[in-house]
Assembly symmetry: C2
Homo-oligomer: 314 residues x 2
């Protein structure tokens, strides 16, 4: 049963088209904004392009702590069997670990670090919570591509996120070069909503986390969106933060280089934008992919003294 | 039966390793060299890195003529059934057309254009012929990756090319950007021969043209080779020429952008380096993949007046 009004209908037999975005990108009015780390220019750039790369946010020591924790989780024999763990098609290697802020104390604290959460609160002008978190490990040599998509389209249709008042932050744990399958984004694409064709099959999430087959934008729409400002690759050293709007079209190519591409990934949603029933006739996706029942408002904290490597998983 | 001495043994149960190259990269001694279009600096760069990008070699009009011919061939209903035509796994779209210098008069003339053939003769210091030619069409949205390989390893083992006295030229027909799966090369990799493990199955070529599974270098060797001078992407506007040595390690990532990546591709081999029996216990690959019986020495010709678009296929 679809209870709420659907501002952004997609799939369910509709024709593909670009419809205008109905929500702001930056919610806080200029002077009232409390964005401790962003300049006016950076906010304007985020509003215009739908993404922003912040370099050198985390120190080498902090990044090492995050990488140690990532390796610990990947080697933990108990992880493979968990629902939260997604493996590569073919090899079975761990590709992503979901709800990592619930599994690991290190990443729980990182999610509420003010260098991330403070910016999210500021841009969305609201208290925030983690809609989804994950560690992405794109291995060297055999890292698979991930096709173009707007996260919001999926979060709206399959999770019931009502409006575009959420954003993602990707914290780079390895160097993201031009060659190892970096995040590619279409600047300006967030100002339109790409309505997709098709429907949503039951339990779509099991396959879509490996390879998307529904909620995939039509070729023609992608051409229109790249026609605006082309495509950019988010190239960044470890310890950088790539912020992008929930509706920015993005994807990545395969990675055949020897260099893995690892990121921690947090989706901040405004508390006023909590999910309702999905905007399709399927059951909601599991809690570890889209927080629904267990919502915790982020209390942003300061200081790198938390990341010293001696933290344990909960 | 293996008749000739095998300077570069690979597969056939050998352990993976890097062995030194036993042949020159540039064959002609400095002063005697007849490289009308290359400076000493360019020749030195080619010798050192194993590749060279020449920009703006062909005019916009010439490129248009090549593209028109490519489109004509792709749409020719008779082409799909030809042995020379390789289709994408999955979609069935035409990905490559082999022996294109034998199929199309336009590309026959391009192969002997002195802006290409003259350089090949000069660097190899010999008369040359086309060992292999093809049109590569890497479609937008769904262009597949091609994994790291040395062409020479395959040409040696499967075709019986005795020595490293051959080079490839890729003529860009569309823009090769950082995003649409450009050719990636490992500079300096051509100075070592990556001995591969495994064997060569019968009729390997049928699958290897779509997806290589034998003659694939070990991870460890690729790490050693990228440790030299990293990885470069050959980014170029249409009408450029990417020259690379037969033993330069190269590959390409998938292409999810809307922009197809098309190239004409010619392999020039020194006439003194004609193929013998394959250096494995399989039959030679077909003539359209590796010229063996029908060898025509290139007579380099001048002038762009040949590419006016009114040429017909033979």
């Amino acid at each position: 049963m679809i209870a709420a009004q659907d501002k952004y209908p997609s799939r369910a037999g509709r024709a593909a088209c670009l419809m205008p975005r109905l929500d702001p990108v930056v919610y806080a009015p200029g002077p009232q904004r409390q964005l401790t780390n962003l300049s006016d220019g950076q906010v304007a750039q985020y509003e215009r392009d739908g993404y922003l790369v912040l370099h050198d946010v985390f120190s080498a020591g902090e990044v090492q702590c995050f990488k140690d924790e990532l390796e610990r989780l990947r080697r933990d024999p108990g992880m493979q069997a968990r629902d939260e763990v997604i493996t590569e098609p073919g090899s079975g290697d761990i590709r992503s670990i979901f709800r990592v802020h619930g599994i690991s104390e290190v990443f729980r604290q990182l999610a509420s670090d003010e260098r991330l959460a403070g910016i999210a609160q500021g841009l969305l002008d609201d208290d925030v919570y983690i809609h989804q978190s994950r560690l992405n490990y794109k291995p060297g040599f055999r890292g698979k591509e991930f096709y173009w998509h707007s996260d919001f389209e999926t979060w709206h249709v399959e999770d019931g996120m009502p409006a575009m008042r959420a954003l993602s932050m990707s914290i780079t744990l390895t160097e993201n070069t031009l060659h190892n399958g970096p995040l590619m984004l279409m600047p300006g694409s967030h100002k339109s909503y790409a309505v997709c064709t098709g429907e949503t099959p039951a339990n779509h999430f099991r396959e879509s986390l490996k390879k998307q087959e529904y909620g995939v934008p039509e070729d023609d729409l992608l051409e229109q969106l790249t026609g605006r400002k082309g495509i950019v690759s988010a190239v960044a050293k470890p310890g950088s933060v790539i912020i992008f709007d929930c509706n920015t079209m993005h994807g990545s190519s395969s990675n055949i280089t020897p260099d893995p591409r690892s990121n921690a990934f947090f989706v901040y949603n405004a508390i006023s934008n909590r999910v309702v029933q999905p905007f399709c006739d399927q059951s909601p996706r599991p809690e570890y992919i889209a927080a629904r029942e267990h919502i915790e408002v982020i209390k942003a904290h300061t200081g790198p003294e938390n990341y010293r490597g001696e933290l344990q998983a909960v």
